[in-house]
Each structure stands twice: as structure tokens, then as C-alpha cells.
């Protein structure tokens, strides 16, 4: 009770004394936990390096500037590859994500006991694992190249698009589904006439959004051998060619800005 009656009349406090103590204890626990984590994390940290960091940073910066603009000419092909990896990966991921989402949505799944948990697991597994890790695996399995990158992008996109789509399917207006089923429509017709129109705009929005994210991700997949700008980044880093690294960063940055602009435009047009 925030208001207590004492001999001096009513006393107001924001929380009861018990809640004050609990709140304080919670904050204390959080701080203690943070300090504990900090100590575990830094137990092997070489503080010499940390103190040295500003000098190191200044050194790198000095070596990175001016950027080697002549290197730009050899980046167009990897940039084109990067874009294509993102686009094809997004498409492949979308094609797989759509059926998975319908199997995962509570109102369209054929079986709540078996299929739905399985589809949900596919989604969470895909979401938990970054495309760079998928690429690492796929390069080891399929060999280096764009194919590994495309599949890595696709595998990560399944979870993203699948999750947004199945949530959209679960939020549809069931009245429209009821009305279409009442006409004697089959299951596929109900999906086509009652569900697809309701989820289409948000679905396209999430695909474009994912495409935008995938361009960022495909730019670095080459670090583990999957093609695109990352390959150049890796080889430049290996020989400590910082002026080239600067150029690559500039190209990545410009691509990201442009793709974000496009994706924002498309999504705004859809709403």
C-alpha cells in the first residue's frame, strides 16, 4: 500500500517499503552480476594492449589514409557478386520460408503436435545462427565460392522471413477466413483468397527488409571464403594493406546506405 496511516496522518510513498527493498535488491543483484561477468571476461585480458590501443589506433589510421583509390577499379566485380549473392540468397530463402511459415502458424498448420514444433525449430535454428557461421560451414562442405554464400544467406533468411510471416498469418482476421470457407472453398483456395491478401504487404516488406540486411552480410561473407567483397577484405587484411581496407570499407558503406534507402522507399510505398 503506497498510502499508510500513521499517528501523523496519511503518509504517501511511491512504493511500499517491501517493494523499495526488493527493487534495491534487484538493482544490487544486477550490478553484482555485471561485476562478476566483467571479472570472468577480463581475467585473461592483457591490459598492456588495452593501454596501447589508442596508439595502435592512431597508427592504423595513419597507415589507412589516404585510401588507395586505384584499388577501386578491382572492386566492381566483387561488389556485383556481393549484390547477386544477397539477391539470390534472399530469393532462395524466401521460397523455403513461405511453406515453413504456413506450417508454423497456429491457424494453418496441419498438425499441432508434430509439424508445428518442427517448423518452429527450423525457424529458431536458422535465426540463432549468423550467416557468417553458415558460410563457414558451407565453405568447408561445398568449397569456396558464391554458391556457399548464397546458401548461407538463404539459410539465415528462412528464420527471419519465416518468423515475420508466421506471426502475420497468426494475426489475420479469422472472419475473412470463415467467410471464404463458407463458400465451399478448398484449403488452398482459402489460403489464396483469405490469407494471402491479408499478409502480402507485410510479407513483401519483410523480404525487402531482409534483402537490405543480406547485402550487409554478404559483403563480409568472403572473410571465410564465400565470395564477394569480403574476399578482397580478407586478402588486404592478410598483407596489412590498410589503404585498400579503407577503400573496401567505403564501398561497403556506400552500398549499405543505397540499399537501405531503396528498402525504406519500397516499404513505405507498400504501407
Amino acid at each position: 500500500m503506497p498510502v499508510t496511516i500513521t499517528s501523523n496522518g496519511r503518509v504517501w510513498r511511491r512504493h511500499s517499503p517491501m517493494r523499495d527493498i526488493l527493487g534495491f535488491a534487484a538493482w544490487l543483484a544486477l550490478v553484482a552480476f555485471f561485476v562478476f561477468c566483467w571479472q570472468v571476461m577480463t581475467k585473461d585480458t592483457m591490459w598492456v594492449f588495452v593501454h596501447d590501443a589508442p596508439a595502435q589506433g592512431a597508427d592504423i589510421l595513419a597507415r589507412a589514409l589516404p585510401p588507395r583509390w586505384s584499388y577501386l577499379a578491382s572492386l566492381w566485380k566483387p561488389l556485383w557478386d556481393t549484390l547477386n549473392m544477397a539477391t539470390l540468397g534472399t530469393l532462395l530463402g524466401t521460397v523455403i520460408a513461405v511453406p515453413v511459415a504456413f506450417l508454423a502458424a497456429g491457424n494453418t498448420t496441419p498438425s499441432h503436435a508434430l509439424v508445428r514444433p518442427l517448423a518452429l525449430f527450423v525457424i529458431v535454428a536458422s535465426r540463432s545462427i549468423n550467416s557468417l557461421i553458415w558460410a563457414l560451414l558451407l565453405v568447408s562442405i561445398l568449397g569456396p565460392g558464391m554458391l556457399a554464400g548464397i546458401i548461407a544467406i538463404a539459410l539465415r533468411s528462412i528464420g527471419f522471413i519465416g518468423k515475420l510471416l508466421y506471426e502475420a498469418i497468426e494475426e489475420i482476421d479469422e472472419g475473412q477466413v470463415e467467410a471464404v470457407s463458407a463458400t465451399g472453398a478448398t484449403g488452398m483456395q482459402v489460403i489464396d483468397y483469405a490469407i494471402v491478401p491479408q499478409v502480402l504487404p507485410s510479407f513483401i516488406g519483410s523480404v525487402v527488409f531482409r534483402w537490405d540486411i543480406n547485402i550487409r552480410e554478404s559483403a563480409i561473407l568472403g572473410l571465410v571464403g564465400a565470395g564477394g567483397l569480403g574476399l578482397n577484405l580478407q586478402s588486404s587484411l592478410n598483407v596489412l594493406a590498410w589503404p585498400q581496407v579503407t577503400i573496401i570499407f567505403i564501398v561497403i558503406l556506400a552500398t549499405v546506405v543505397v540499399s537501405e534507402w531503396i528498402s525504406a522507399r519500397v516499404r513505405r510505398a507498400l504501407i
Binding site: A179, A182, Y193
Partner: protein, 279 residues
């Protein structure tokens, strides 16, 4: 025509929505289904086309026992039963025409419906129906661009596009203003008469029901407590259905409403005359 016998529905929560309901609707008869909220009206009409699975009892449409049909056959039974919904239940993001054509989904294979390539007869029928409900110029508009009354007209056209033998109407006027409500009720009744189409209209507005339908069934707690012509619905019967209330006062209020409605009735007569030429 339609024979419902001993229909019960118990929901998984244990609520008994229907407790042995039986009645028959002969060809061409329009029945008003009244009763307080939670009396099972909505469950009852949804049990007829099995949007809600009845727990026991049978529903015969002509010679077919709808309740005994397997899933695949249910589709052919459902297309014989048109349904009009409370909140219109149009697919908001589809065009008006697609909504009307969706009434034919039970008749066409998936590829036709997917490509929107309906047989010409169905398309011209859909145009005729849109004309009948006064919306032929809106065929290409999206359903969410229409007003409430217009949407319900599309809902009516969709149900009729099915070429149904029975019409189930669930609270057609619940989200409409009084004047539009009467227009919509009048339209439904006119269409039922033109086609000698039997209908079950689930309606919470007793006076609207009395004004339009030829038979009233009163439902209370899942049981039929009144079944007769509108004139027989006296204070005693109303009390049986709804419980104690000042029914006389309600009727006086209604008379005032009715005089407000005279103007709209004239308008609607004019519309009906125009439509008569078409039908």
C-alpha cells in the same frame, strides 16, 4: 427444405451452446432467429454449414445429411448454402469483384481461382448481382474503400454468387446505422422473395425482425422457447426469450424511429423500382 433435428453443441470449455434444437424451414420461408447474447444463435447457424462442428444431431439440406458428410463432400454442401456475416467479413484487400467471385470458389478448380480465370457465365452473373445491389461501378475498387452499407451489399452479392439454396444471415445489421440497417434488411428480403430463397436471419433487433420476417424463432440458453409468426410475439413471449423488461416502452420508442425512416423507405422503393427493370 432444411431440417434441423436435435442439434446440440458443447464447446471444449464445457459450455452447452445448443441443447437439442429442432426445426424445419420450408422452401421460400424467411426465418428470424432472435435471442439474447450467448443464447446460441450464432452457434446454431454456424452448425448448419459446419463452420462450427455440432456435437450431435443432424442437419438435412434437401436429402443430404450435412452433418454426416466427410470433409471433401462438405465443400459441395457448403456451396449450396450462402452466408452473410455480421462484420461483412469481406477480404478487405481484394477487389469488390474478387470478393463476389469468391462465392464461386466451391465450383471451380484451384488453378482457375488462382489465375482469377472464372468461367464467363460466373463473371457475368457476378456483374448482374453487383448491378442488383447497386454497386456495378465499384467492381474494381478494393473492398476496404467502401462504406459499411456498401460492404454488406458486396457480402450479399458474394452469397448470391454461390447460387445458394439456403441463405444463412448472421446479424447483417449489427455494425450499421438504423437507416442502412433497414435498407439492407429490405434488400435481403426482396432477394429472397425474387428467388424463393429460404433464409435464416440471426438478428438481435426484435423490432427489425418483426417488421421484415414471416416467422420468428426465439432462442434462450440453447433452447427454442418461441416459434411462430411475428404477430404472436407478445410481451409474454418476449419475456420468455429475454427476461423481464419494459417492452411497451421499447415499442413506443420504435414508433418514433419508424417515422424517421419514412424518407429512407421512399428512397429505397425508388431503388427497388429501378432494379426491378434489371432483374
Amino acid at each position: 427444405m432444411l431440417r434441423v433435428s436435435n442439434l446440440t453443441k458443447t464447446y471444449r470449455t464445457g459450455d452447452k451452446a445448443l441443447k437439442g434444437v429442432s426445426f424445419e424451414v420450408p422452401a421460400g420461408q424467411v426465418v428470424g432467429l432472435i435471442g439474447p447474447s450467448g443464447s446460441g444463435k450464432s452457434t446454431l447457424i454456424r452448425c448448419i454449414n459446419r463452420l462450427v462442428e455440432p456435437s450431435s444431431g443432424t442437419v438435412h439440406l434437401g436429402d443430404v445429411d450435412v452433418t454426416a458428410l466427410p470433409r471433401g463432400k462438405l465443400r459441395t454442401a457448403r456451396r449450396r448454402i450462402g452466408m452473410i456475416f455480421q462484420e461483412y467479413a469481406l477480404v478487405e484487400r481484394l477487389t469488390v469483384m474478387e470478393n463476389v467471385l469468391s462465392g464461386r470458389l466451391g465450383y471451380v478448380p484451384f488453378w482457375r481461382s488462382f489465375l482469377r480465370r472464372f468461367p464467363p457465365a460466373y463473371v457475368s452473373n457476378a456483374f448482374a448481382l453487383l448491378d442488383r445491389v447497386g454497386l456495378i461501378d465499384h467492381a474494381d475498387k478494393r473492398a476496404d474503400a467502401l462504406s459499411g452499407g456498401q460492404r454488406q451489399r458486396v457480402g450479399i452479392a458474394r452469397a448470391l454468387e454461390q447460387d445458394p439454396e439456403l441463405l444463412l444471415v448472421d446479424e447483417p445489421t449489427a455494425s450499421l446505422d438504423p437507416r442502412t440497417s433497414r435498407q439492407i434488411m429490405r434488400l435481403i428480403l426482396e432477394i429472397c422473395r425474387e428467388r424463393r430463397l429460404p433464409a435464416i436471419i440471426n438478428i438481435h433487433d426484435v423490432l427489425l425482425a418483426q417488421a421484415f420476417v414471416e416467422r420468428i424463432i426465439g432462442l434462450r440458453a440453447g433452447e427454442i422457447v418461441f416459434d411462430g409468426p411475428p404477430d404472436a410475439l407478445d410481451t409474454e413471449a418476449l419475456t420468455r426469450i429475454y427476461g423481464e423488461e419494459d417492452w411497451a416502452a421499447m415499442r413506443r420508442q420504435a414508433d418514433d424511429d419508424a417515422s424517421d425512416d419514412a424518407e429512407s423507405a421512399a428512397q429505397s422503393r425508388e431503388a427497388a423500382a429501378r432494379l426491378a427493370g434489371i432483374a
